[in-house]
Each structure stands twice: as C-alpha cells, then as structure tokens.
Amino acid sequence: MDGMREHEQHDHIDGQHDRNEPAGDAKPHESPMDLATVRAKLQSKTGKQYWRTLEELAGDPQFAELLHREFPRQAPSEWDDSVDRRDFLKLMAASLAFAGLSGCGRTPEQYVVPYVKQPEGMVLGKPQFYATVMPFGADAIGLLVESHEGRPTKIEGNPDHPSSLGATNVFAQASVLNLYDPDRAQTVSKFGEIQTWSLFVDNAQAIAAEMKVARAGFRILTGIVTSPALAAQIQSLLTLFPQAKWHQWEPAVGDGTREGAKLAFGSYLNTVYRPEKADVILSLDSDFLGSGPGHIRYAREFSRRRKLNGPNDTMNRLYVVEPTPSVTGATADHRLPLRASEVELFARALAARLGLGGSAAIPPDAEKWLDAVAKDLQEHKGASLVVAGEPQPAEVHALAHAINATLGNVGTTLYYTEPVEAHPANHLESLRELCTDIDAGRVETLLILGGNPVYNAPHDFDFASKIKFDEKKNRKPVKNTIHVSSHFDETSELCDWHVAESHYLETWGDARAFDGTLGVIQPLIAPLYHTHSAREALAAFGDKPGVSDYEVLRDRLKAAYPSADFEKFWRKSLNDGVVAGSAFPPVNAALKFNVSSLAAAKTTPADDIEFLFRPDPCVYDGRFANNGWLQELPKPVTKLTWDNAALISPKTAEKLQLAHNVAWRGGEHGKIYSNVIDIALSNSKVTAAAWRLPGQADGVVVLPLGYGRKKAGYTGTNKGFNAYAVRTSDALWTAAAPSSAIKKTGDDYPLACTQYHFSMEGRQILATGTLEDYRKNPNFANEHAEAPPKELSLYKGEAEFPYDRDKWAMAIDLNKCNGCNACVVACQSENNIPVVGKDQVMRGREMHWIRIDRYYEKAKSATNDPSSYDESLFNPPTFFQPVPCQQCENAPCEQVCPVGATAHSAEGLNDMTYNRCIGTRYCSNNCPYKVRRFNFLRFQDWETPQLKLLRNPEVTVRSRGVMEKCTYCVQRINNARIESEKLNAPIRDGAIVTACQQACPTEAIIFGNANDQESRVAKLKAQQRNYSLLGELNSRPRTTYLAAVRNPNPELESA
C-alpha cells in the first residue's frame, strides 16, 4: 500500500513534465509544489498551527495548481515521456508482472478489505443495475447503469425508456468516463482558491439578501432545461426576486427548430417523429438518425423499416438533402449535396411543387431530383415524412411543418406536443439580452449553471469581457459571478466563484425525454469529490438553502403526480427510470402559416464559400473535450480522431489547391499531413487543417465546433481549432464569404485518421445492392467469394471439431448499420480498452476491438488519394461496416501462435489468453481482417486511482506487450453460462447480449447460438443476404454480414 502511495507521488512530480497546463495560476519561476512538500509542511505543525498552515497553503496559488494536477493524465502519452523514474517503476512493474505471470517470482502480500456493514441486497462479486437518465439538450436518454461494489462501470440503454429502447449513443456510453475524469473540478473555489461549501452558501445568502433590497440585477444563465424540478426551482427564485431573469444559451442547438414551430403554429411546439410509420422520408439537412432529440429511437424505428427477411419484404425510402455528409446522409437511398442556403430553396421549391405556393430557383441538376421526391411524397400521403435539420433556419422548419400538413402526415408519421423544454425561448436573443443588460450595468449577480459561454458564445458578443475585470473602468462589469460546472474551464477562470458540479451519476434529479416522458435521475455513487448539483447551487440563493436534491425531487413528484401510495409510485419510478404515463399527449396544432407570405430567402452568391458550424460528432459542443474515449473515437464519416478539421469538398479543395499527403509512419492507417489554412470571417481569424471530404457539397466548408479548448483538462486542452472564434451571432450556422477568406499558410498539420483508404479495390468486402438486384438475385452477396470445398484440405478425412453444444455466432446487418459508433465506445467501456493518445493513433496503434470501416462505393480505385480530385468523389454512396474479431473456425491467427496463447474454446470462441501471450504479433500479421490489437507500449494507466474505479472487474486489464482482440464479450457469455448451468437449463436466446449489440440503436448486431435454429442469429444467418467476409480464404468466420440493400427510386436510378 505504501509502495502505491510512493508511486502516485512520483507521478505528481512527473506530472509536471507531461501536463501542458495553460499558464494559469502557476508562477513559472517558483519551483512547483508536490504532495510530498505539502505533507512536509503540514507534518511539523499541530492543532491551530496546522489549520493556519492549511490556510496559507490554500492561499498559495501553487497549491491550487497542485490540486489541479492532483491526478495524472487520462491518455498516456508514453511517447513524449522523458526517461524518468516512472520508466524504472515500469521496468520494475514489468519484472513483477513477469514474476506474477510466470509463477517464477514471489509477489507481495495482498489484503482483503471487507465491508464493516455490508449494504442491503448487495452480493459481493455480482454487478447491480440501476435505472437513471442522462439529460442531454432537449432530450434525456434512459439508462441502466452497471455497478460493481458501488462503482458505476458501464452504461447501458433502458428498454423501458422511450428515447433509448435499450440502446444508447456515444455520449451516453462515454459519460461514465466523465464521472471518473481526473481533471474534474473537485471543490468550491473563489478566484481559484479552495473554499468550503458552507462559505459559498453564506455568500449566496448574503447576495440573496442584497437582492431582496435592491430587487434587481439577478440573472441565471442555463442551457436547455428539461428538468421540471430544476425549472420549478428557478421559477421560485424568479418569484423571490421579481426583477431576476432566466437566460438560456445552448450553443449547438439551433433556434430554427423552436422558431420554426412558432412561425408555423404561432407558439412553441415540440415535434415527435414516427419514422417507423413512414414509407418515404425526406431529410432537409437533418441528421435525425445521428443526433438531436430522440435520434436513438428514430434510428431504431427507421431501421425496423430497413429489415429484410426475404426478397419479398419492402423497405422505406430515405431522401437526404444536405451540405455535408452525416450518418443519415450515408444511410440515404438518395442523397443530394446542396449548400446549406440551397436547402431552404429546395424546401421552398418542394412546397411550391406540392401546391403550397411560393417559389424558388434551385440548381438545375436538383430539379429532376425534386420532381422525383415530390412525386414519391405525394404517392405516399400520410405515410411520408419531411424532417428539417436543427441548423436550418426557422423558415425551413415552418416549410417542413406545412409540407407534412399537406401530405397528411401529422398524426401518423409525426405529432406535436407541448414543448419539452421547461422554458423554451430564442437562445440567441436570450444571450444577446443578457449581454446588453450587462453592458448597461443592469446585472448585479450572474449565476451560470453549466455551460461555458466564455468559450462558446458568439464571438461578437465577447462574453469574456462581460465578466472579466475591466482595467479601463477599473471595475467588474458584473459584481458577483458564479459558475457551476464539472470542470474548471474557460468560464470558471473568469468567474469569482466556481462550484464544482456533480456528475449526473452522483445526483438526484429528473429530466424530460424528447416526447415529454419524465425520467428520474438517481445517483449510483456518492459524489467522488466536494461537488454539488446545479439544483443545490440554486437552492443556496433560495429561502431554503441546503435543501437536498432528494427532497426537492420527491416534493416535486408528490406535487406533480399525486397518488394514494407515493412510496409505491416512487419505488416504481426509480425502478423503471421513467414516471409511468408522463409522456406528453399529442396536441393538434393549427397551421397559422402561409408559404407565399415568406420573405425572400437569404442566398449565398454562387462563387462565395459557405462556412457551416456544426457540433462535432465526438466532442459535441466541446463539453466532451476532455473525454479520452470520445477524442480517440474515429468520427463516423471522416475517421479523424483527436482533432477537428475544416471539411472541404474535393472539388473546392482542388480549386484552392489544398492537398493531403500520406505520412510514411502510420500512413493510410494513421497519419495524414494536410494543408493548414487561415480562415478569416467577420474580422476574426482561425487557423485550421483542411480535410477533403468526398460527398460534401461544393463551395461548402464545415467548421466542427467543440475543439480548440484552452482549459478543458489534460486530454482536451489545445486539441484541434476553435471554430467558435469565427462564429458570430448574425451567422450562427452558416456564414458566407468569398473564397479569398481562405488562405493557405503553407504549413502542414498531421491528422490522426484511422482509415484513409476508402475504396474496396473491387474486392468482396462490403456487399451492396439495390432492392431490385436483391429481388432478381437474392444470393448476390455470395457470388464472388465462396469458401473452397473441404476436399481441398490437407487434412481432409480428419474428424472436424463438432461444436455441438452452444455455437456462438454474430450476424451484422449492414442494411441497418448507420455507423453511429455507439458500439465502439460501448466495447471500449466494457472491455477496459485503453486510450493511446494522438501520437500512437498516428502510428496506427489505436486499440478499438471493434472498428467501423467506411467505404465509398464506385470511388475510383488504385492507391486512391483524395488529393487528386475525381468526379466519383462528388457524391459517392457511403457504407459502414463494423468489424470485430470474426471468430474464424479455421483461425489463421491460432495456427501461427508459437505458445498457444490464442486457441479455440470448445464452443468455437477464438480465445485470446493474455497471460500466455509473449507478443510476437504473428497472429496479427496472419489475421486477414486485421482486428487484433497490440499493446506496443504500456497503454493502460495503472496509476490514476479514478481510472481504477472505472475498470470492469470482469475483464483482465492488459499490460504492455500482449495482443488483444474482441472476445464476443466472453465474460458475459461465461456469466450467463454459469447461471444457466446452476439451473441445468440451456442458455435461452437473448440471455447473452454483447456490449456492441446492446448499445446498437439499429439492432444491426445480433449475437447468439447458431446451433439453436430458433435463435435470431441463426435465422439471420439462414438468409441469402448473409455472407462471410473474405469467405474465399476458408477461415469460416463465426461473424457474418448481411448485405446492404438500398431502395433507390427507379426514376432517379434510370438517369
């Protein structure tokens, strides 16, 4: 144990070399402090002195900084470590491991530390699952969280929750890492100095007292709030201080959705879609399958209509009009790249075509497309659906409402409800008002709940100046500023007070889902640090300070859902994670909107460039910047990690002479150098790496938000470029500028791209076809790659291994997969997969056990390099293929392993035994699918205590020098088998759900027993669409794929 403590200390010392902390409160010339010196300082002192010393320390900026780097990094940067004591510790650790593994060395004593009083209903060694919800924008995702001895370790979807239906997305999966993020703020602080919570409460009460007198100047700034409890609390404060105001700013959610409804119906309304009921769907720049409220459910419903059991089944049809490829666009049967501004024109033109009046000129090549879509929609009145995208302006949403109305879709494929948001408002105006009020000196106290406005407010608002000390006037624009957030970030720096906010897994609360369903947030663990929830922070200003979330929540529910037996209701709600029957009923919305009355649309001059601001698929608006899992997650379409890049269509890039070149180290699977460009927009400038993105509309540059954080923590700071820096209030989503706004700097920037090569080289990798093809020839997927006959075997006549009990197998329906990545993060979380850092990804060493390959069909072949423009890259059909270990029966990897570290189990699993592996990497060389991952360095972080809490105890934590790979979640298989064996009952189908399958929103991944003819997997494998990847190699994979079938409109196909 002592050794361990020693160990940590070294880390803190080394920490300084590793961590590139922004030059914050640490004074460079002073030698920084470490825990040892702190202890030294304290040891000598006793009693009063002791506390005084502590005060001094607290006053010492270095101590603050020390606390800041209290915990070492999350993504090990083995590479740039200098030789330091840790290396030698590692060496020792290695030799210890050697001893432990080989049984040739004596390992030190270990201790068992039992509970003093064991909690009710806990069985040691058995995980428990609790229902909760994760609030996210105008939605809340229902979750079941796995907990081992009180540590939440894994997030799973809650089947009873409408927005989850058992599935999750990357953010939900990764949120558990946020809980254990070593860089989280851990205490209340004032001007960066540690304070106690009670001090804060006193201060808050003092402020409240002033307010009561001054009766003015109290402002609350939040993001979208769907929590009735929180809203009620804010309301009560607003009543307490009548002059107080509630402002909202959600940087990555457009006002278009809200304002569109207002424009169409005269009041804010919430739209709920029913993709399952729609035969024809048109998306107007909407990524409704990949992001936005309810997208997990929508993806599930949509995929149900992509299900094919045989050639006679039917499919829905999806048209997508969008400026930049999204997972929705990649799933589409027809995709039309248009510039963002042209999407509105297209909407108007469509409205006109459907007889709603108005008119608009659209690009000629879109005309034919428009005809086909209009026709298709009309033919499917009541069974069609038009979805407008969040970044689109109100007009487009209004038009979508109007079109859906004329097509009679309202009530069938979509319906309207009261707003889910507790306080719907135009966020841009709300924030603008706040800023003007501050300038006018009308704001005394500003309470910022969550969010990070200094980083993500429109830069023309210059929010920093609104709260920063003003040298010229020699005063603070706002007297009291309080920031409540999980990290001490850009905003916290400038606020007087910072309250470390608890993670949603640490608090009580509630949140509404996209359809109004109320979910209950229940804590799985007591706050790890001295953190508090936004609700508590609010309460500190109210008349009941110190009231607990728990009471607040229960009171609120008592009031809202009066029932005879509240405890029963309470328990049920906790157990289900949702309050039964709390979903909003549909309201009938009368369309108060006349298309022809619309003002002329804003258009962009033809040769101008459109700059689009879009939330990043991995770090969203920047709130996940410090999450290693998401940083290292390849973005669905670009496959970039650890950076954002200015996305440019190949043609435009050609015009601007922007190129990539492939680095020699890592190469196509890792490191790509791309030209760096300066982007000058609205008298501000940002420098970004340019990335050619096939399928992007020409003349469009996408600037993904959420990167370039200056104070995000070890993992997230100074990654990528900050697109907010050129995002202004007048062009929140689309900014137009002449192409001269883009200047090549002449530099190159290395980007970590996990899959640069996007052509299948004419190989039978990802079988695709159209519905007609499929009906004509249901077996099309198997025609090019049959396994050779067994007679050809060297061992023909030899008895084969029977696998007559359970024969685990997986089927992946490429027709459903939309490349959303949920499975990748789920796998990473379930299997203790390390984060390796950008440098190692660039060397082609990322560790994901399941990867999602992205191929462009028909893209020109050869050693194709997007640097050379090619027409086939204008709008290539895009397909995704999740590739886990194929669990081959004739596994090439096993035959070549010299020590038998990888061998077949009796059930035909391709077992990987880490402790036997010596790391020759021969198996990986011989694996045709390249799904094996190797610990080239010590990627696992063995020091950081929080990350130890995160680990799944059911899975070995791999150290340096061993191979690893997908195991079909063998830990889940074993546990299920053991349980079934105790009952002497067979394992029923569905009893084992792999992590990837569990997370998949579209049910594309099915796992089960292939010997059980009734199992879902056996049925899928029985289909003719089912094929083996590289079957001709006779590796006999247990994982097979179902060919992707698209359902194009014959009229458009013919052309």
Binding site: G666, G667, Y855, P898, I918
Partner: protein, 461 residues
Amino acid sequence: MSAGQPPFDAPEIRRLTPVIGPGHTYGSVTDKISAIVLTRPTSLGWFVGFSIAFSLMGLMTVAIGWLVIKGVGIWGINIPIGWGFAIVNFVWWIGIGHAGTLISAILFLLNQKWRTSINRFAEAMTLFAVACAGIFPLIHTGRPWMAFYMFPYPSTMGLWPQFRSPLIWDVFAVSTYGTVSLMFWFVGLIPDLATLRDRSVRKPLKIIYGMLSMGWRGSARHWHRYQSAYLLLAGLATPLVLSVHSVISFDFSIAIVPGWHTTIFPPYFVAGAIYSGFAMVLTIAIPLRKAYGLEDFITMRHLDNMAKVMLATGLIVAYGYFFEFFLSLYSGNKFDVFLVQQRLHGPYAPFYYALILCNILTPQLLWSFKMRHNVVILFIMSIVVNIGMWLERFVIVVISLTRDFVPSAWGRYSPTFWDWATFIGTIGMFVTLLFLFVRVLPAISIAEMRELVAETSEDDK
C-alpha cells in the same frame, strides 16, 4: 592486388591457378598462419577497427536496454505491419550464416580443395551471423522476459509450445543450426589449437590452448575417428543448412498474407541465403587476405570460384523473383495480383527496383572474367549484393503487410531511430567478434593446409 601474382590472361595459366601459392612446406604454412595469432604484433589498424565495431555494439546494448524499458513501441511497427526491421534483419543474418556451413560441409563432401583456406573463417562468420540473428526473434517479442514460453519445458501451467507455428520451427531450426555449426567449427579447430599449444612460448597461452585442444596429439587412431566424425558432421550439416532457411521461409509461406503465401519460397530463400552468404565471405576475405598477406592461401582462384557461386545463386534468385511474379499473375488470385502491382507502382516501388538492380542486374557483371578478377570490383559487388539481399527481405516482409486483404486496414511502415540503432548495432557485434576471432584463432585451417601441401607436392611428383 598483391605483388607476385602471375598475370591472368592466358587460359592455360588460368587453369593452373593454384589454390595455394607455390613453394610452401608443412613448416611454412604452419609458421605463416600461426604467426598471425602468436608472434605478429597487433596492428594499430586492428585496434581502430575493433574500437569502432565495439562502440557500435555498445549502441546495440543501449537500444535493447531502452527497448526493454519502453516496449517494442519504440520501433516503427504498427498494425498492420506487425513485423519490421527485427524480422528483416533476422532473416538477413541467418541467410549470411549459410555460406559458412555450405563451404565447410557441401564443398567438403564434393571434395573441393579450394574450400580449405576459406572454410575456417567462413564457419566463424556463420556462428557470429547466427548469434546476431538470434538476438532479433528474442527482442522482437512484446515481452522478451517471457520468451522462454517458446521452449518445451514442464511448466507449472501444464502447457507446451504450439508446434504448428513456424516460429517454433524457427526456435528448433536456429538453435540446432547454431549448435551444429559450433561443433563443426570446434572439431575443425582442435588440431590447430594443438599446434598453437605447441608453438606458443608463453606459459599462459600454452595452458589456454592446451585446455582447448583437449590434449590432441595427432595420434593416427585419433585421426582415424576424427575423419569419420568430421565427414558425418559435414553430411549432417548439408541437409541442415538447406532445411534451416526453408524453415525460415515457412514463417512467410505458411502464413496467408498475399506476397508471403507462395510455394517458391523455400528454394529461393536457400539460394538467396547462399547468395548473400558468399557475398559476405567475399566482403570479409578480400580485406583479410590483404591485411595479413594471405594472398598465397586465399588466391584469385578462391575469389573467382566464389564469384561464380554468387553468379549461379544470383541467377536462381532471379528465377525465384520471376517465378513469384509469374505465379501471382497466373494464379489469378486478386490479392496476389494486386500485391504484384503494388510492388511495381505502390509507395514502396523504389525499394523493389533497387532490389532488382542490386540482386539481378549488377551481378551479371560477374560473367566477365576481368570483373571476377578485379578485387576491388568484387568487393564492391559483394557489398551491393548484401544490400540487395537485405532489401529483398524488406520487400517481402514490409510491402506484403502494408497491402493485405482489407483495404481499410492498409498502412505504412518506416523505421525509427531505434530500429536503425539495433540493426547497425548487430553489424557492430558481428565485426567485433570477427576482429577477436582473427586475433586469437587461426583464420585458416592449418592442418588442412598441410594436407593441401602434401597433395600438391604429390601432384608435383
């Protein structure tokens, strides 16, 4: 070129070019060769050369130490290119080793007189090359300290090696090869050690050489058994040397990777091995005979013969390349065909062309008698071939892995500083050992030279 060489133009003289200089007696050969070890003062050149080589060897130890501390991640390898320099160098070194065994065994069986004066240091070269090669399979593993799992020992886990894996075949092949070469070399040394024992004047030397020679006294009875044992060893070493590189080639041909999975590998690996081996023998012999004035024992006849062997094996290798190429196209296997295209047009194409240049085109010069008898040209040629054979292994190992079955997984490889340090370090080790060898042991088999003197004198009669 040394003085006293007869002019090589008239064919009849060429035929008579002896394998040993004229006018040598049992005494003179004994004196001349043993003098190098016993009486001749150590030259400054020796010290300079040795210290350079030794410092390079030091570099290797540093590189390996760092490797153990950090892990194989300090190299350029990645997924999909799991094998890089380490395996390339391993195969290269093993290949170089082959010439020694071949010269001493096969040529012995074929009763080729001219082998006598080169077999000793050729065998030494074999041992040192195998030593260098042996380092790589060990350190290229992720957990070198666990490498003993590859040996069959009764473990507490009740597990044994997995004998279907070519890597295990390697373990047995290489260790057998090392052991047999060592014994072959030592048995050959025994009589010469006795000579050194009897000729050295200083007591400590007498004792050391005495112990090593195990009391050899040249008894006819001993010679009787000695000869049959030596003959048998030669007979055993011959199939062994052929098998070893075949087994090495299985590392690749047993795998399914396009560019690896081909049946032509065993023969053309063996040919390649001998090719590079003879190149290395030349690289060593030419400076050696110059430095120690051994032109009488290592005559132009030897160089000429070795050049011819190089030419022959070079042609076999060329055939191998062609056949590999042809098979890929003929098979119609889309992966193989693609790989061939990659070799010609892919990012690594320059390496392939360089390989063709070094291994196929340049050696054609050896058809010319003049070239074969220009020592400088031969020396350069031998180096070129060594480089070429290294490139061959690079092309096979790396290019094949960069472009295999699933395009999404394609990647690239480039060595890091540590890759180079380890490689150059082993060269340093090789040269260091050679320097020590020529200093303390007779670089040419004295006993066999005496036989040669005996026979040539009979020829004279």
